[in-house]
């Protein structure tokens, strides 16, 4: 963008390819995919269903094998999944037999092995408080609503202090009211933490509101980057102000035009 200072590249995908063998030869989901993500950048990946954007995200997370090419995290090749790439899943994926606090604690214990119990608990409580769940520490996850469960999911991911935050259609299963609420929660926490984030989404408004850059992917198979939108809306963003910015609609139209053809 406008800065001349060389920014640190946090995550890099180069010549990435993903294919599955089928009875009629190989099915190529993604090919020749290039992407560089700078530190503290919020990237959204948008595209039609089945274009392989979720596949890409699970590959970065290390939950899906890479067929060809490589993914570098701070210039190191990634190997398997790990807490340095925290994931907020589409379904909240909390353990229903644990309380909200225990769900967050499970990861915190892994990452902050040297911290005292008190310190770890403080970390969990801090993030649960930030996502608006200070009253729900000890409620079992199964008794929380979908929206509240996803709040815990967000707290769990941030509490890991990851290098990259991966969000796989995090609000896809929520109703529109809750979705807007959680977008606000996410942007608030993210503004404080500034963790490099990659989000996969269907929702154009969501992508524009949250991101610095939106990667538009062409339809699969053989999906690649079709277009990139630089969203230079001022930060910190607040729904009321940002939505009234004329640029917001310009970007929104840009994305819709791409998705339409």
């Amino acid at each position: 963008m406008e800065s001349v200072i060389k920014e640190k590249i946090m995550l890099e995908c180069s010549d990435l390819k993903k294919s599955y063998p089928t009875s009629n030869g190989e099915f190529v989901v993604l090919e020749d995919f290039q992407l560089q993500i700078k530190e503290k950048e919020f990237i959204s990946i948008i595209g039609h269903s089945g274009c392989g954007k979720s596949t890409l995200l699970t590959m970065i997370a290390g939950l899906n094998d890479i067929t060809e090419g490589k993914i570098l995290l701070e210039a190191n090749k990634i190997q398997g999944a790990g807490p340095d790439r925290a994931v907020v899943f589409q379904s909240p994926s909390l353990f229903p037999w644990m309380t909200a606090l225990e769900n967050v604690m499970l990861g915190v214990k892994q990452v902050f092995g040297h911290a005292t119990k008190k310190q770890r608990e403080d970390i969990c409580k801090y993030y649960l408080d930030k996502v608006g769940l200070s009253d729900a520490f000890h409620i079992k996850a199964k008794s929380l609503s979908q929206g509240m469960q996803q709040r815990v999911g967000i707290a769990r991911a941030f509490a890991l202090k990851p290098k990259v935050l991966l969000l796989d259609e995090p609000f896809g299963m929520l109703d529109s009211m809750t979705r807007v609420e959680l977008q606000d929660v996410l942007i608030d926490v993210w503004t404080k933490e500034k963790i490099t984030a990659v989000m996969v989404t269907h929702d154009v408004d969501e992508a524009v509101f949250l991101s610095d850059r939106v990667i538009m992917m062409t339809g699969g198979p053989y999906a690649k980057v079709g277009d990139i939108a630089h969203i230079n809306l001022p930060r910190p963003r607040h729904r009321k102000v940002t939505i009234e910015d004329p640029d917001f609609y310009k970007h929104r139209q840009h994305l819709l035009d791409f998705l339409d053809h």
């Binding site: 999944a81 994931v87 899943f89 229903p96």
Partner: protein, 362 residues
């Protein structure tokens, strides 16, 4: 009141809810219909069942009576036959033909079993009192206490059966749950062991009993422990463990992929992964297996006791059958209902525990 209804639902007696609502005068019309359907009709069906039993027993009694008289006539002549007929019709127990007992006979049988239990208990406590002083001395001298060795009562038999079934169930759980977890975690192991499970699962309890007694006979040859008890509880365990084994393996191997992904992202160790994620996630399946295991153990227990000559309800039924006294048939039917009711209660208890342990039902 709300809490009473909730508690009733918890223990599986939810069908009383409309009656309570009706007493409170809530939604009268709907609850009258529900009371009729859930309480009156089932109670009525019990009476119809008893009536049908009575008619059937009556018919069989008549057939048996005629045959007995005819037999007497051919063997001993007309005079004896007439005497026999009079004897039977007077209701004398000594010449009553042996047929399916009527509900009234069964009731009599139940009462006599209860009386018998009371008299045996009285004898037992009298025996205890009498031997208390001697046993104290024997204990001080390092000798074994004298115990009551008289005939066990029906209630004692129930108690023995329950003890055996719990020992067998515990053995099944201790064998099947760990084995199921290991099998569930390793697909290689699962496929390589599958044939053994598939072959051993349908083996009849009788064969298990024989196999177990072959082994136990040798292993416990010089021990003075209760061999028949050991044989029957091990057989019960081996017959009934398969449901838990298969269910546990299936539960563990089919844990939600989302949970496994979270576990991967958090890089949980093997121990945490198994005990914090996989095991809690498969608890509902494990408990379904345990519930089947318990009901299977109760069912095979009767057959095994019958064959192993170990004390319990099974041998009670067999002894009564061999005994052939006038009220033996009635006692067998009493035992049948007791077995059924206890089996039903065991299943309810497991269902209750299952509800407590499962995370997916509220």
């Amino acid at each position: 009141m709300e809490r009473v209804i909730k508690a009733l639902k918890w223990i599986g007696l939810g069908f009383f809810e409309p009656l309570i609502m009706l007493i409170q005068g809530k939604e009268v019309e709907k609850n009258i219909r529900l009371v009729f359907r859930q309480i009156i009709v089932p109670v009525l069906s019990v009476f119809i069942f008893l009536g049908a039993c009575n008619i059937g027993a009556d018919y069989l009694f008549k057939v048996e009576r005629d045959r007995k008289i005819e037999k007497t006539r051919t063997v001993q002549g007309d005079a004896a036959a007439k005497q026999m007929q009079e004897c039977i019709d007077s209701g004398d127990e000594s010449c009553k033909p042996n047929s399916l007992p009527s509900p009234a006979d069964v009731k009599k049988g139940a009462i006599s079993l209860w009386e018998d239990h009371k008299s045996i208990s009285a004898k037992k406590s009298a025996f205890k009192e009498k031997t208390a002083a001697i046993n104290k001395k024997r204990k001080e001298a390092g000798q074994k206490a004298i115990v009551y060795t008289g005939r066990p009562s029906f209630v004692d038999q129930i108690y023995t059966s329950l003890k055996t079934v719990f020992a067998g169930f515990l053995l099944a759980a201790l064998l099947a749950i760990p084995a199921g977890i290991v099998l569930g975690l390793s697909e290689t192991l699962r496929t390589s062991i599958n044939w053994i499970i598939q072959i051993l699962k349908p083996v009849s309890p009788v064969v298990w009993l024989l196999l177990v007694s072959m082994v136990v006979k040798t292993v416990l040859a010089n021990s003075d422990s209760d061999k028949s008890f050991v044989i029957s509880f091990i057989s019960v365990g081996l017959c009934s463990m398969w449901a838990t084994l298969v269910n546990t393996a299936m539960g563990v191997s089919s844990v939600d992929q989302d949970y496994l992904n979270v576990s991967k992202v958090l890089r949980l160790g093997v121990f945490s992964n198994v005990f914090k994620v996989i095991l809690p996630a498969s608890i509902p399946m494990i408990f379904t297996g345990l519930r089947i295991t318990l009901s299977v153990s109760w069912m095979v227990l009767i057959a095994i006791e019958l064959l192993a000559q170990s004390p319990g309800l099974g041998s009670f039924v067999w002894e009564e059958f061999q005994n052939g006294a006038n009220d033996s048939n009635a006692k067998i039917i009493v035992a049948m209902f007791v077995i059924g009711i206890i089996g039903f209660m065991l299943d309810r208890i497991m269902m209750f525990i299952q509800k407590l342990a499962s995370f997916d039902s509220k």
